[in-house]
């Protein structure tokens, strides 16, 4: 796809929306940042490359009163479908500009590969090579080596919902079984090992709530029960129980709703695999109710509905 075609489309879309959300260069060469375009002269500042990691749809529920255009990758488009399923946005108020995506970078993985040196320049070639200049030295990385985990098993490189598609559709070559491979692998551990793993991970949590704030499906905003005093679910005490409880709140409130965009993991300053719990629940939802979040417009999330006779839930005996 060409950036010119994208800019042209945004120019057209901008005529009948209040704002178009896209990406622009961030504070350094490695970071991009959301770009809110309200007038045509702002269009030129926008960029499109594998640095565009954010899920921009996260702004949509809070912009309900406006008509919004938004640039989405394949994974981000699932969020829009999920929003519509849950009635959080109106389809008519969103113009979706979809871009088939070959994968993005993980800033953490790039920084690790170049030893956290300051980056002066970064460029991308069509074959998936990334050339990074830092401290006068050039280094070539492959996109596949520094992309986030979600890209390595991506099933939906082409947006599932769009009004304008920029560029050619891409079909995935990654096997569908690979998506939950790590979850199945983890389930082979013993109960003690799993408990130890989670306690070790959650113990590092600093309760900055960045995972919650970045999550597009966390829509309670000021009423989040992790912070309300009435009801008082968790205290300010600094201990593992409270941290564990916070992550349980996040995971269970996303049961059968998580679109696996990976924003929670991307923003976690402590590198906790926050998305894993939600993906485990998604795997169960797939097995129990044959449901995958954010894929079909006419479905309802499994926790929102029920069947009088559940085919796959058996009564438990003691």
């Amino acid at each position: 796809m060409s950036i010119e075609a994208l800019k042209e489309t945004i120019g057209k879309v901008l005529k009948d929306v209040d704002v178009v959300i896209a990406y622009k260069e961030g504070f350094d060469a490695l970071h991009s940042t959301p770009h809110f375009i309200t007038s045509p002269e702002q269009i030129d500042k926008m960029i499109w490359n594998p640095l565009c990691v954010h899920n921009l749809t996260t702004y949509l529920p809070s912009m309900k009163n406006k008509k919004v255009g938004v640039v989405v990758k394949g994974c981000d488009s699932r969020t829009i479908i999920q929003f519509i399923q849950e009635g959080l946005i109106e389809r008519g108020k969103v113009v979706v500009i979809g871009i088939p995506c070959k994968g993005v970078i993980s800033v953490a993985k790039v920084l690790k590969a170049i030893d956290h040196k300051p980056i002066e320049n970064i460029s991308f070639s069509d074959n998936g090579d990334i050339t990074i200049t830092s401290e006068g030295e050039k280094k070539v990385l492959s996109l596949n080596d520094v992309s986030p985990d979600k890209c390595t098993t991506c099933q939906y490189p082409t947006p599932l919902i769009y009004d304008h598609l920029i560029g050619e559709e891409i079909k995935t070559e990654k096997p569908a079984e690979s998506v939950y491979g790590d979850i199945r692998e983890f389930e082979k551990l013993s109960l003690e090992e799993r408990l130890k793993y989670w306690q070790g991970e959650f113990d590092r949590c600093i309760r900055c709530y960045a995972c919650r704030n970045a999550c597009p499906m966390c829509v309670c905003q000021d009423s989040c029960i992790a912070e309300t005093r009435d009801p008082h679910w968790i205290s300010q005490r600094l201990n593992l129980t409270e941290k564990f409880m916070f992550h349980m709140i996040h995971a269970l409130h996303l049961a059968g709703r998580c679109v696996e965009c990976g924003e929670c993991e991307r923003v976690c300053p402590m590198g906790i695999p926050v998305n894993k719990l939600k993906r485990k629940i998604n795997l169960d939802m797939k097995e129990l109710f044959d449901y995958e979040p954010g894929v079909k417009l006419d479905e309802k999330p499994p926790m929102f509905v029920f069947n009088v006779e559940e085919a796959k839930i058996k009564e438990h005996k003691i």
């Binding site: 109960l191 306690q199 269970l252 719990l277 029920f306 009564e315 438990h316 003691i318």
Partner: protein, 144 residues
Amino acid sequence: MPDVALQQELRIIGFLCNWCSYGGADTAGVSRFKQPTDLRIIRVPCSGRVDPLFVVKALLNGADGVLVSGCHPRDCHYSDGNFYARRRLEMLKRLLPFLGIDDRRFHYTWVSASEGARWQETVTNFTKRLHELGPLQLKKEVSS
């Protein structure tokens, strides 16, 4: 009937719906059925009121086991509360082992107000199972 009185008592939390299971527990009591005393009952309006987080919070904060009981499917006082509960609790039942908590520590079932004997059986068996598992030991120390 196992003699649990000789062992140390465990902390088991029971969430019982007001209309069926709480009545069922009452029936068991009125009928003078012998029951273990480890269970502490919390009455809720409906099993649909039971947020899976109630169970997690209880387990993380010192309970050794949690029992949720509501009206039989199709018998809900609010017509569909227990249908939602069934999906949520099943989801939780599958998640607990992923966290490293034995899912035998959590049980959900349906007991109607007339089923005093069924209630006695449920409580007795669940308590017995938990005594076999012993207290739930999560790492308790305060982190950095």
